[in-house]
């Protein structure tokens, strides 16, 4: 039986009727039409579906939509502000951290969650943070560079 819930995504509140077993990923993609969040496995193994919920990164394929009720959800579509790209987005483009781009939304959301909590991570901390996000194209090299560059741009090292 469907229930009506309200979901706050990228600052906008949506009323959606959902089955109790539907995942947040399904609802974001198929009902809200926000296809920037990707599906790679539907089982929590690839990280492509990562979104930020109440400040914490989650695999949206593992979160039931009903459990996301009234939470604050940020997806890749909500990251740029007034057409201005987030420094992470800028860095991924500039450093060549994007090949096919399918892992990119999840990767960027995971990196954002990291930088929100730890603005100046070490390379090892960056690698740890994204260890649950699979990328098959880049070998992670330029992704790690991009996250470190964004960190530097957002929080320059104290002289």
């Amino acid at each position: 039986m469907k229930q009506l819930i309200s979901l706050k995504v990228n600052g906008t509140t949506h009323e959606v009727a959902v089955e109790p077993y539907w995942t947040l990923l399904n609802v974001i993609r198929d009902h809200l039409g926000l296809t920037g969040t990707k599906r790679g496995c539907d089982s929590g193994d690839c990280g492509a579906c990562t979104v930020i919920m109440n400040g914490k990164p989650v695999n949206s394929c593992l979160v039931l939509a009903v459990d996301a009720r009234d939470r604050d959800i940020l997806t890749i579509e909500g990251l740029a502000q007034d057409g201005k790209l987030h420094p992470l987005q800028e860095a991924f483009i500039e450093k060549g951290g994007i090949q096919c781009g399918y892992c990119t939304p999840g990767m960027i959301m995971m990196a954002k969650a990291l930088l929100d909590e730890n603005p100046r991570p070490t390379e090892a901390q960056v690698r740890q943070a994204i260890a649950g996000n699979l990328c098959r194209c880049t070998g992670y090299v330029k992704i790690v560079e991009a996250i470190l560059a964004a960190s530097e741009a957002m929080t320059p090292a104290k002289p």
Binding site: C46, E77, Q89, R136, Y140
Partner: protein
Amino acid sequence: MTATSLIGQSIVKPDARDKALGRTQYGVDLKPRDALVAKVLRSPHPHARILRMDVSKARQLPGVVAVVTAEDTPAVHYGRWVHDRTVFARDKVRHVGEPVAAVAAVDEDTAEEALDLISVEYEQIPEVVDPQSAMAPGAPLVHEDMASYGPSTVRRGGQGNILDQTVISAGDVEKALAQCDVVQRQSYQAPATHHGTIQTHEAVASVDATGKVTLWSATKSAFAVRQTVCLALGLPMSRLRLIVTAMGGDFGARGTAVIEPIVVLLALKTHRPVALTLTRQEEFTGTSYREPAYMELEVGAKKDGTLLAVRGKYTIDTGAYHDSVGHLRPNTAMLVGPYRVPNFHLEGFVVYTNNVPRGHVRAPRAPYPIFAIESLIDAVADKLGMDPVEMRLKNAVQNGDTVPIGAVVEHVGFTQTLQAVSAHLEKEGKPQAPNQAWGVAAGQWSIHPIESGGPTSAAYVKVNEDGTAVLVTGVADQGAGQHALMAQIVAEVLSIPYDAVSLVAADTDLTPYEQATGGSRTTYRAGTTVRLAAEDARRQLISLASERLKVAGADLGMEGGKVFSREAPEVSVTLAALGAASLGSRGGPIMGSSNAGRAELMEAMAKAHGTVDGPIYCCHAAQVEVDPETGQVKVLKYFVAQDVGRALNPKLVEAQIQGGVVFGLGGALTEAVAEQQGHVLNANLLDYRQPVATSVPPIEMTLIEEPSQFGPWGAKGVGEPPTVPVGAAIANAIFRAVGARVTTLPLTPDRVVQALKNRP
């Protein structure tokens, strides 16, 4: 090239921005809201007769719009090379995961429910799951009527389950081996591995009122897939338009029709848009991926390290269907590696089994024979007490050599890659810590002779009225930056800024033919085609300018958006003026075609016929640390030297090499599809272990630029080779670190421990 040349500049890929914003539409992202959802019913058995099938209950379920089976398709076979497949299993299933029916329903839940309502009665028959048993007399036959499979150009083994076989030989191996100071013999094994793209297979089809189908698919081979779908469903090509969507990775996954015939069939049945997304589980049973292989090898050398003879046998398990292009001869020839070997005898076999079908994965069929020969060469060098790089240098293929398939290689940069590795290892020094060492291995790719036929692609370049340009090409971009490179080539030829070129790509109704984006051939061959089209547009601009400026064409130059007289540069006209003037001109609007310069190219290629122009060679070095207790292998550092001909966009080249090495690391250390009696035991991304960010060592590289003749500005392919020698480089490093030879991939801790026990 001009002072402001774009060649060699690391231009940022234009697709990156939309991807960073989450705006790029992949596969089903662009499906209409009212699209039906398709699901496929698959065989649970590796080998079984279909006795009876009843779909009536599924058809009656509210919300189900169509259920299709083999009865809804023409009785034809199709395939990438040999035509051994049908859309749905007809009388029997040959592998777990083979499609037997499909449904289209209003939503996913209904489609799932409908699958449960289809009843199929199977009678299991004995399966055969390893090529050795499959080759034995009396083995159960996977395909009873293989001899009837088209097309007639296919060379078939025709005996039992052997689909293809070959022998390549030269000299007298027997005699040569007897003259060798050292002979080493070893068998090697390697498993099925998966492309592991993060996006699964997805497609959408829709039919208009006239019956014309539009198919959106994340494929890299638009034209080949169109051909297959048309053959499988009996459609004329004019009734099917395939538009390529963004692809979430390829690595061989997207070169052949996988789900497209099913989606199109359902759209035709329902007259509604239909979307299909494979689950991750289906990626492992419903697609095709790297073939497991068995290599037996014997190598003999003189005291001074000169290789005299190689005897080898390469057996490939192709599963229930063969999704490969069938280059068994060059693949088998890989067994001698990139070396001069006067005497060899090599046998290759491709064998059907009841495993999931095999096809292409990054650098198809190269990593395993190279794993074998590079491991064994290393063993011979060790026996001789010779430095492993020295040994390779001594035998390295050189310009003008005839390689085992009978072609002559030109523009060979192999020695330089070996020298670069040597220099790097010298700089690094021997690791002092215990159980640490460097290992090296060489690799090769694209050892294909120039065919007398030209490139199987075409392109147009249109010049707009304001002097900007549009490239129309069949090339699909999997993310490696192919579109950026193609645009870079056009901009360079027309001397206009890179962002003055836009691109229309990979649409079978709109763009000219293109074979596929694969095999490290796109920059080399499609890039050449694009260059021809741009040069034709340039010629047309010059000729129009010559009329207007009253200066002979030969005296005109083009730079900075202008055509000018070389003698009096102030006599000039902008490309914008020419673009506008061309509209009503005698020649018409400027539209360069690659067919214009093609005859000359083909003549040059005919002259070069039988030579290999853009062979790619590389050498890798890996530093590992091995824990002798647990067998755990840690890769500490990695170095690549690769001949790229000419790095048109160094950053993209670097990205391909980094990604390729890490892809190879997965195959070297952790990746194997676990198969048991035809069932896949690890059909998910947790148990099938691809590299993650924490498992990747720092990767350094040296690019060698030994230009090719035909690649644009000398470029060669880049993307496949970095995956090729990784397994061998790490296996050799393990040996140098702890003296254990692991001969089965992946190099797992238990195999390392076992090999340590077996140490002589």
